[in-house]
């Protein structure tokens, strides 16, 4: 059996990739994808920890992961709607050009 540390390491790497991607990319769609990557990193960690023997076969981790998938779907729906609106107004999907509130 693959030790749980490997999963946690994978989760950490995925989360870092997502976080850095969110910070450095200006494309809003890519930023949304980065958020998805981070959420999935969390999911990996949750299901991995759920496999620990101290866990007594409860499925809290898996259930939690399903919740996160549902929330992620909702957030993407809202996020893409915002991106569409932004595109209609500014003809761009770059987040550094979305500065309507500033001016």
């Amino acid at each position: 059996m693959i030790p749980v540390e490997h999963y946690v390491a994978l989760s950490a790497i995925l989360f870092t990739i997502g976080g850095v991607g969110f910070l450095v990319r200006r494309n809003v769609i890519v930023a949304l994808m980065s958020i998805e990557v981070m959420l999935n990193a969390v999911n990996v960690a949750l299901v991995a920890f759920n496999r620990l023997p101290t866990h007594n076969n409860a499925h809290t981790g898996q259930v939690f992961a399903f919740f996160i998938i549902a929330v992620a779907a909702a957030s993407v729906a809202v996020g893409l709607a915002i991106v569409l609106s932004l595109f209609r107004i500014r003809r761009t999907v770059r987040s550094d050009e979305a500065d309507l509130l500033k001016n």
Partner: protein
Amino acid sequence: MKPFLDLFSQNDFSLIAVVLLMPLLGAFVNGVFGRRLGKQAVRMMALSAVGVSFAAAIATFIALDSAVDAAHTAHGEAAHTKLSWLAWEWMRVSGPNGSKIAIDLKFSVDALSGVMMLVVTGVGFLIHVYASEYMREDKGYWRFFCYLNLFIFSMLVLILGDSLPVLFVGWEGVGLCSYLLIGFWYGKLPNAAAGKKAFIANRVGDFGLIVAMFLLVVYCGALDWDGIQRHANDLVVTSDRPGPIHLWPIGGGKFEDYVIAGIRIPLHNLQPDKPWTITAATAVGLMLFLGATGKSAQIPLYVWLPDAMAGPTPVSALIHAATMVTAGIYLVCRLSFVFVLSPAAMIVVAFTGAATALLAATIAVVQNDIKKVLAYSTVSQLGFMVLGVGVGAFTAGFFHVFTHAFFKACLFLGAGSVIHAMHARIHDEERSQDMRNMGGLRRYMPLTYGTFLASTLCIIGFPGTSGFFSKDEILARVLIETPTGVKLANGAAPWQWPSWAPWLLWGMGVVAATLTAFYMMRLVFQTFWGDFRGWTIGRPSQLSKSHHDDHGHAEDEDAEDGDHHHHDDLSQPGPPPHESPRSMTIPLLILAAAAIVAGIFNPAAIKLVVSTFSFLPLEHWLDPVFSDAARGITLADHHTAHTRELVSTFGAFTAFAAGSGLAYWVYVKEKGKPAREMMLKVPRLYKLALEKWRVDEAYDKTVVSGVDALADTAASVDQGIIDFVLARLTALVVAATGTVLRVIQNGVVHVYAAVMVVGVLALGWFFVQPHADFTVVEQDGDYTLQAGPGPGYEFRWYPDATKEPQTKDFSETDNLKVHIADGKSQTVKLEVKNAFGRVGSKAFTITRPAQPAGAAQIREQ
């Protein structure tokens, strides 16, 4: 009627509530819904509100009468009886010596307020009927009746209030309604200014009333009528506390020399040998009277009343002639027992009244605006009333209030009827009120003329009319009665009137009465007699034809005149003036009839002819109210009184005959020629009188400009210091901070995200660090150390930091007990390991002081 009235007990006479609240209900309905209700409904509401109030007032009066009779039977003599109704307990204020003074919203009807109540609701109802026709074309119909009903309510509160504060509420209420109604046509600047002027002039008077209330609280410890009456003698105390009022040095201080930097400032020169003091009665009397001068338009505050005629004519009749302006006289009558304590205050009242009567009469003689003449005549008549109460003839003064309400209301409504007719021809506010444009109206307006003439005969004192009896009574009483006050607490008599004062007052009164007769007859002759002079007004084509051609005016000679497209043909002479509709003339008839016969309530002058005559209902009716005041009044002995009454009546009759005869000669016989000659002979005097002795201008130059200067100073302080330094400086600081902070708010989403990440990392770092901390509780040298909690914390204690720990490993023991001897000190150390295995530590040195009672001193290492 009797079973109905038996429903109410004397001390809980809730019928008063109906009298009071019906007009308030009318005001509410008309004010809130009036715009949507339409004129008919507004009219119904307003008239029924006042009508029901009047009916309830009559029922109340009947009940009062039977209560008075019952009291008379019980005591064997007339006693002061009143019906009262407590609405609710309003407030309690601190009185002298820690007492509490209850100020209740309580209303009562006694002989005095009962008569006033009937006059206000009765005359008020008639004027409402009149106004419902007079104001018919006005857009603000509902607003007008809302204000008018509210006025009746406020006036009733003023009259029926059982204490000075409740009276004051009504006092302010009528002031407000007066302001609203003077400025009813607020679109015109002079009207708005006149309203403001009335309001401000009355504020000066209100100041006096408020000060009087404060004084009464301090000296009498009561503000309701009965309480003040019981403690009235406290106002003339000479004992040390609260003692007489010091005018100089102010507040009873003492001037002593003041040495500053070796220089002696001789302040003791300012200290009089004996402090100048007045009794509290004088102070209260003068302050109350200041309030009365504001409301009742006496010198020096009368200037607002003539301007107040800018309001609709029914308002002038109701508020500024019949009811509100008599509130000041009512106040003096109500508190007569206070006034008579101070002959000094009374002489001020009397001379103010006489001077006002005279001054206003001289102005009225030369005015051309019909309402202005009546306005100054009102001021003058109010002066007579004040003169009457000023000499202690409260019944006579109040009788004049009563009769004046009828004839002056009738005069104003008659003038309104004339203006109504003139306005239909002229369509110009100012020229339709100018008497020079009238004349001959008796042919066109017989009813108005008849009623107007009847009221005029009353006001000028035609023998047998009400005005003759009331004014004659005042003049006679001036000679007979003298206020002498009561002995002060130390047995000394108060200051007494000089012997010439009554005769001077009488002389001023007779001259004023002569002028009254002259200007009122001048008004009648110019308005109703002779030929109509108004044909040419506003109709330039008629100029050539002029007024002497009475029959030619129907011809249309100037048809080529291009000026034909007005709403009526100006080349035509227009219709002749017409009589007013019935709902205007019926009130006139009723008022005129009442004015003529009102004299029967107190025809004292008949006593001169028939010495056994004793039908004086009003005097007997009011006797219990003024019986307490009688002790401060000295009457001339019977014989002298009779002689003086004869002299006075002869003088009054002469005044009437001379004044009206002169007016007849000048304006009818000579057709105004002598008046024009006088005008040319003394043009400057004429101009001065026409401009009302330039009193307004004098006030502008002194008081108003003084206040303006003060306001300018305050404004420059406001702009220079408050606005510039405080406001702008604060704004500058805020703006600068904002500029700096705005750099962070750059509106770029990923910068916010980065900041968030940094924040999350910082928080994470904080939680990863262990935080060693503990509190120390001391008891008799035993110190308990309690470590603060944290996630996954384990603790290791060092009771002495230099030595080994208490346990080798970290454990969950989060407290430690150590004992430290007197005067010793010890360093304690705590190590904390958290879930990540990181270790933090903290050490304290605890020193126990040598004194057994001393607290521990804790010093951090």
